[in-house]
């Protein structure tokens, strides 16, 4: 087999034992890798009904056929499990060297089940070459350490050729939106860090150098060179020059920048925290993931060191909490990285609590919109699950249920996952994407915002015509996340399915067509739904909080989305997907 090893490594952390489980070519061709392969393996594990924090619940690290190839942006892996935040499927993608080292262990995915007897490092030595290559080492000395400290200490202890994925304090404390960190990047959404923490695994240290062969190496090299050349062009200029943070002032001008827990779509202090302002007033360096030619990471100087800045962190720590002080936003973002917390869910949950205080539903008078001290204090409380942090560590949906009143109507979440920085009333194709997202409100699995920022729809009054377009972005994302290629290449791949088929043909030797890949994308989206149905999904979940359905944006009355319109869009989405609106879970 080309591009694959044809096996996954299944590790029981309770016993520190591993077995290689064969993966058939048929399964690999149907689900490809990454998010697709991960969900297929989870379904095989019959894990949909398990408590994701139970020892027997699996977590999958899935690689892809492209990992290790010369293709730009291909050094990525997917972390797939049931989410402790949503109780639905969760797949998060992250770069970079861990993917190459993991696949270098001679497998296409790693499944971890069980619970280590004490806080441990799971060491996978792919260069050793037999069963003894898997071992648990105590990680008690790293208890309470940040993700970055753990990674550095383990490299010093085990060797620089190990690649480390670790959790911070938040993962140890099972914060429901804890991340898994690697090389400063995070499998950010949905709480995979809590799943690993529940297994008593502080970190996975991995090394391996086993390569797969490519079916057509010369053609693949030429194709890779051409793709790299194209990736230097205007289509990726946004990411090179300002990064994702370039969205901030644009969204603010369009009234689509979520502010003060979605009470507004514009933020008066947006300019203060914009990348344009940060670039003008602070030192800046750029960084790339391994095997990437785009270099989207912009790291700005602050009083607490260099901070990687992404749009989602700026919005979540900034406008959403009403904080317009750049130093505070950078510090808060950095603190989330250290603790291993998803900035979007942290910001969403804190902003929600701030509004509850404002409404008199929560007696925590220090927690005010715009307060830098409150933001930083709340983040630390969440990481340690101290005081109010224990409630906020549960996410906004569970917090709302505990707070009561009508707070669930303003909890900024879908299926329990906090809404990213796209105001749904101002971007209504995205509103549909959020409502139907398998892992909840999600801008990575649905690119429906692309439709809103085009001449194909009226973004504030979308019709059923938008549904097909939203589905197209979801299918495309499913394939990109399974191949895996970075979505920032979207504008470079002008004929996506055809070019993806070309890539996969040269890697695997399969006579794969663009139609087959489109079918695979739809299959992967459906597999996520199958998992959710088994986990108890109902149609009532495919909606938005009441705030978005009964209140127009105060500063843009045209940005109004009625429940009837959203429900019609959702119904049409299900019809076009060919899904039964009231499925009966098997068994």
């Amino acid at each position: 087999m080309f591009g694959y090893h044809g096996t996954c490594l299944r590790i029981d952390a309770s016993l520190a034992r591993a077995e290689h489980v064969p993966l058939t070519e048929a399964i690999l061709r149907q689900f490809i890798g990454g998010g697709g392969l991960g969900v297929r393996l989870l379904l095989n594990e019959e894990s949909a009904r398990l408590d994701p924090l139970a020892p027997e619940a699996p977590i999958v690290f899935a690689f892809s056929p492209l990992v290790g190839s010369p293709l730009t942006t291909s050094a990525k892996f997917a972390v797939v499990s049931k989410s402790p935040l949503t109780q639905r499927i969760n797949d998060s993608l992250v770069s970079s060297g861990f993917a190459i080292a993991g696949k270098g262990c001679g497998c296409d995915a790693i499944i971890v089940v069980g619970r280590a007897p004490e806080l441990s490092v799971l060491v996978i030595d792919g260069d050793y070459g037999d069963q003894d290559s898997i071992r648990l080492e105590s990680a008690e000395e790293y208890r309470g350490a940040s993700c970055q400290e753990t990674e550095m200490a383990l490299k010093a202890r085990l060797g620089a050729n190990y690649r480390i994925a670790s959790i911070g304090v938040a993962g140890e404390n099972r914060v429901r939106y804890a991340t898994i960190s690697h090389d400063g990047r995070h499998a950010g959404r949905g709480g995979s860090g809590a799943v690993l923490g529940a297994k008593n695994i502080k970190a996975i240290a991995i090394r391996g150098h086993r390569r797969t062969d490519w079916a057509h190496p010369q053609e693949l090299t030429e194709l890779s060179k051409a793709l790299s050349r194209r990736s230097f062009g205007p289509a990726t200029a946004k990411y090179r020059e300002l990064g994702t943070a370039a969205n901030l002032l644009t969204f603010n001008r369009f009234g689509a920048l979520p502010t003060r827990n979605f009470q507004s779509g514009t933020f008066a202090d947006a300019a203060n925290i914009s990348p344009e302002e940060l670039s003008a007033t602070r030192s800046k360096t750029r960084k790339s993931c391994m095997a990437c030619t785009i270099g989207c990471e912009h790291i700005y100087g602050s009083s607490t060191g260099g901070v990687r800045v992404e749009y989602e962190s700026l919005f979540a720590m900034g406008s959403l909490c009403g904080v317009g002080d750049a130093e505070t936003v950078l510090h808060a973002s950095q603190r989330c990285d250290e603790l291993g917390i998803d900035t979007i869910s942290a910001g969403g949950t804190i902003a929600f609590a701030m509004e509850c205080v404002e409404r008199g539903w929560l007696d925590e008078p220090w927690l005010r919109f715009g307060s830098r001290d409150a933001l930083l204090r709340a983040i630390d409380l969440i990481g340690s699950r101290s005081g109010l942090g224990d409630l906020l560590a549960e996410g906004s949906r569970r917090a709302a249920i505990a707070i009561g009143h009508d707070s669930i109507s303003i909890a900024p979440q879908v299926k329990g996952l906090e809404i990213p920085g796209y105001e749904p009333r101002a971007l209504q194709t995205m509103a549909l994407g959020f409502a139907v997202g398998a892992r909840g409100a999600d801008h990575n699995r649905s690119g429906a915002y692309e439709v809103d920022f085009s001449d194909k729809v009226d973004r504030r009054r979308v019709t059923l015509d938008a549904v097909r377009l939203a589905i197209e972005t979801e299918d495309k994302a499913a394939l990109m996340d399974s191949l895996i290629l970075c979505k920032f290449l979207r504008g470079v791949l002008t004929d996506f399915y055809s070019e993806a088929a070309d890539i996969l043909r040269n890697v695997t030797g399969w006579d794969v067509s663009s139609d087959e890949l489109h079918e695979a994308a739809r299959r992967i989206v459906s597999a996520k739904r199958d998992f959710n149905v088994l986990a108890g999904w109902t149609l009532a979940e495919d909606t938005l909080p009441e705030r978005f359905l009964n209140t127009p944006l105060p500063d843009d009355p045209r940005a109004s989305l009625s429940p009837e319109r959203l429900h019609a869009l959702v119904a049409e989405y299900h019809r076009q997907r060919g899904w039964d609106a009231a499925p009966q879970p098997a068994g």
């Binding site: 205007p234 289509a235 990726t236 200029a237 946004k238 020059e241 300002l242 994702t244 370039a246 969205n247 002032l249 644009t250 969204f251 001008r253 369009f254 009234g255 344009e276 992404e310 749009y311 989602e312 919005f315 990213p420 920085g421 796209y422 801008h443 690119g447 915002y449 692309e450 809103d452 920022f453 085009s454 001449d455 009226d458 979505k487 920032f488 979207r490 504008g491």
Partner: protein
């Protein structure tokens, strides 16, 4: 009429906005290419490169060079990719 720049176009232009006299979108883009050479990479005669897009007053997105504009209109030039 006013042109406002966002993201890469603002970085390249070095300004956030400017006033232009034009009757169509195509004329706006031709004028921009002439006045701001650093934007030429993104303007193909009277059309934007696909990596950028234009919005009319934030209400609609326009690409046809013949799109008529009035003096009170505002054209936003922004990245076509809103990924974050």
């Amino acid at each position: 009429m006013r042109v406002e720049f966002f993201g890469v176009s603002r970085q390249r232009a070095g300004i956030s906005q400017l006033e232009i006299e034009a009757e169509t979108l195509g004329q706006v883009l031709e004028a921009l290419a002439h006045r701001i050479p650093s934007l030429r990479e993104f303007i193909e005669v009277d059309r934007l490169h696909p990596s950028l897009t234009a919005s009319l007053n934030g209400d609609s997105f326009v690409s046809d060079p013949q799109t008529r504009l009035s003096k009170n209109d505002c054209v936003f030039i922004l990245s076509a990719d809103a990924g974050g």
